[in-house]
């Protein structure tokens, strides 16, 4: 029934060898060649999962979902994905532990794991790296950035190609022979985008360019009528805010900033947030921690948990992002409109002025009062004796 075989070899005085052979049906199922690469998406928030899954499927991936670390382990073994997108804050078993277990298991150790999380702290990425994550992506990130990162990982660096399934091998790429060509010329795609552009020719269209151009052309008139900036510029704003908190507002011509974004991405190591641009235009960031020392009741809506941040990120659509600025903080990320931030700074200045006025011409004295406790005890006892007498 199981299509198995039993055989016995025996020699007198030496011993017997019993051999049982069974077909491993699960392995056969998993190693069946796939047409598209499979992504295991692990996130406990169903809406986020749905959003990324939809986009990944649209981008030509086969998506398997898991809602917690334990489920992820099971799905990873059952479905043998080509890559795992792992949210770090998960119920039942968190992403760090799940990644450690995946990397410790021979069946799943070679699957690249991308930590996909709302944690923006530097230590978090280090922790994810130690747990075995191959890359770290800070949410919110645009789905196309995520897809780009997945493709980059599945492509692998030219020096050490990672594990790739038949599905990953079938994934559409910008240029079919580009990796080999780059390797032969010694051009690293991660560190020399300019060289890459020159390689394919500055004006040479990339695969997907036509589709993107058509989409932009459809949206451009409406956007121009509303006076909106280009979406790419908005993304660069957001990512710059996450990368470098500052207290000032910087302005730079859009064209110049876009080229800066490219070079910044080029010098960033593989293990770092993706989609980071260095477009400094229209960036408002506030060192809230310092401000809080002066104004304890600053009118800021603090989203103090990662979960809230993630929920907030996911609620904010492109239109809202146009009107909001992301302020990265040591304890989370805050969405405020530019008007709110201006108001915040103004009220902070006023409150600071009030504090200064109150403090002016004042002196501070310290007063410490001590007693002899033993003597006080004796006094209590004496008094009670007297009152009893």
């Amino acid at each position: 029934m199981l299509d198995g075989r039993i055989s016995v070899q025996s020699q007198v005085g030496k011993g017997s060898t019993f051999t049982l052979t069974l077909a491993d049906q699960r392995t056969e199922m998993n190693t069946k060649p796939r047409i598209v690469p499979r992504v295991l998406l692990v996130d406990d928030y169903p809406d986020a999962r749905e959003m990324y899954a939809e986009y990944l499927e649209f981008s030509g991936f086969d998506v398997v979902e898991a809602g917690n670390g334990m489920e992820a382990l099971q799905r990873a073994v059952d479905t043998a994905p080509d890559i795992i997108l792992m949210d770090l804050s998960l119920p039942v078993m968190d992403g760090w532990e799940a990644t450690r277990r995946l990397k410790a298991d021979q069946r799943t150790a070679s699957i690249p794991v991308v930590a996909l999380t709302g944690h923006a702290l530097a230590g978090i990425s280090e922790g994810a790296k130690k747990a075995g994550c191959d890359a770290f992506v800070t949410k919110p990130c645009l789905p196309e950035d995520l897809v780009q990162e997945i493709r980059k990982i599945l492509d692998g660096p030219s020096s050490s190609p990672p594990r790739r399934s038949a599905g990953a091998a079938n994934m559409p790429r910008p240029s079919a022979s580009a990796p080999q060509a780059r390797a032969s010329r010694g051009v690293d795609r991660r560190v020399a985008p300019k060289a890459r552009r020159e390689e394919r020719g500055a004006d040479a269209p990339r695969e997907g360019d036509a589709r993107r151009t058509a989409r932009r052309a459809r949206r451009a008139p409406a956007r121009a009528a509303r006076g909106e900036p280009r979406r790419a510029a908005i993304r660069a704003d957001r990512c710059t805010a996450a990368a470098a908190p500052r207290v000032d507002r910087q302005a730079a011509p859009a064209a110049a900033s876009m080229s800066t974004a490219s070079s910044s991405r080029a010098t960033r190591s593989r293990f770092g947030p993706i989609g980071i641009g260095a477009d400094p235009s229209d960036v408002y960031t506030v060192h809230y921690k310092n401000l809080a020392a002066v104004v304890s009741d600053a009118p800021l809506e603090v989203l103090d948990s990662t979960r809230e941040n993630v929920l907030a990120h996911e609620r904010v659509n492109e239109t809202v992002m146009r009107e909001h600025t992301v302020i990265p903080m040591s304890f989370g990320t805050i969405f405020k409109t530019r008007e709110d931030i201006v108001e915040l700074l103004r009220s902070a200045a006023e409150a600071f002025g009030d504090v200064l006025n109150k403090m002016q011409n004042k002196l501070e004295f310290g007063l410490k009062v001590l007693w002899d406790r033993d003597q006080a005890i004796r006094e209590v006892e004496t008094r009670t004796r007297t009152s009893a007498g």
Partner: protein
């Protein structure tokens, strides 16, 4: 230094302590639990006494200070650890008040530091 006249809580406490003290001295058997209870009552009496001192001192200094901040006392000998914000023109009055209070509470030690410029 003693409970204020007419303070019913202090009087009850005193009576309890005195009753327990008599029990302990008159009892022939083990007095472990009675002594424990006695220690608790003494501690409670000391606590309420120190609170009364602090309230009294703060009350007297309120008129000559702009603001005050009470910090946690350090160690079991300290009963009050406070900082006061004083107007420059009230400095002499504050100084005199502290000295007068210190004179009244002869069993307490006052450690007085300042002035430190607030700005």
């Amino acid at each position: 230094m003693g409970s204020r006249p007419g303070d019913p809580r202090g009087r009850d406490e005193d009576e309890d302590i005195s009753r327990l003290k008599k029990e302990i001295s008159g009892q022939k058997g083990p007095t472990y639990f009675a002594r424990m209870q006695y220690g608790r009552l003494i501690d409670s009496a000391l606590q309420s006494r120190s609170e009364r001192y602090v309230a009294d001192i703060l009350d007297q200094l309120r008129d000559v200070s702009v603001a005050s901040r009470i910090n946690k006392p350090i160690g079991d000998k300290m009963i009050m650890n406070a900082a006061f914000l004083i107007s420059r023109d009230q400095e002499t009055a504050f100084d005199a008040k502290v000295k007068s209070i210190a004179g009244r509470f002869d069993k307490l030690t006052f450690k007085y530091t300042g002035p430190v410029a607030a700005v």
